[in-house]
Homo-oligomer: 155 residues x 2
DNA sequence: CAGGTTATGCAAAATTATTGCGCCAATAAG
DNA sequence: CTTATTGGCGCAATAATTTTGCATAACCTG
């Protein structure tokens, strides 16, 4: 893996604010020619620094009015292969995030569903019946203050 | 707010997989002309359904090796204006997500830092000194299994 | 069913991205 | 100290993509 130089970092910093910046605008922002910006972006993608481009949508506009965190504990034996245990969960489109964590629970899930009825349904028909689940806790989000904030790029 | 028709939903579904799809490819995927796709995308942006375009970066490549969840409880009086209490937190670039939640804590933060030393430093110098903080709990993520998954678009 | 509004595809125009090329700077080799 | 070699750079030409003007078709609404 390559080390990022000053220009790479400036490019990443600028593009994280708006991934649709034009090469001309980006070039001006980072003080480099458009063509060189293009080549550096291509290289950052090849090196796996840039993983992809996402569309940020308004969940409300899609009818997803409820965000919730689900905390899962699994039986000890299952933790050896956590991916197997939760693999089917990752494929569900209610599940936005899934992290394996330290502490009293093993996994933190962030889910988005239309309403509380759908959350309840998801919990009882998808989570609860899973093998090896030892404990489930749920916290409903009342407000999303920040989401998907840009990653810190060392200057 | 407008209602999304079948084409809008197909467009959003396709672009969530890859926001850089060309209008020609998108048009083929959703069975509409490129020009009309362009116009619909513009409208979805005006209507606030599409909030923006994000770059997905590899945190590791940026030297951010630690992801953690921080659970905060604030004093009762402060909850009236949670934005004030946490506004400065939202501006910090370690904070990726911040949700106000029901349950035993008031806020869930997701932070990304270089290492555990930086996490410790962030907790002791930024979180702890905050006025009105009643309780702090931290869980370190060992593994990110899914992050920023596409939102469900009703078909 | 008429009048008006909105959506659509095509083709032209405008914008944007990529690439070939020669140049320059830095580093390694002689 | 000079000379290759490498890699990054900007410019300009080329290619690709997006946007827009326009005529037609579909859709309401009364």
């Amino acid at each position: 893996m390559e080390t990022l130089d000053r220009f790479d970092r400036r490019i990443l910093h600028a593009l994280q604010r708006d991934a649709r910046l034009t090469l001309a605008s980006l070039a001006e922002a980072v003080n480099l020619s458009p063509s060189q910006c293009s080549r550096r972006i291509a290289r950052l993608e090849e090196n796996g620094v840039i993983l992809g481009h996402d569309l940020r949508l308004d969940p409300e506009a899609l009818g997803l009015k409820v965000t919730a965190f689900i905390f899962l504990s699994v039986d000890k034996g299952r933790m050896a292969s956590p991916r197997d245990a939760v693999a089917e969960l990752l494929a569900r489109d209610e599940v936005i995030d899934c992290h394996a964590v330290t502490g009293s629970h093993d996994f933190i899930l962030k889910v988005r569903v239309a309403d509380l009825a759908e959350l309840s349904h998801f919990l009882s028909t998808t989570i609860s019946p899973m093998e090896g689940i030892r404990d489930i806790a749920t916290q409903v989000a009342m407000n999303t203050l920040k989401e998907g904030g840009p990653l810190k790029v060392m200057p």
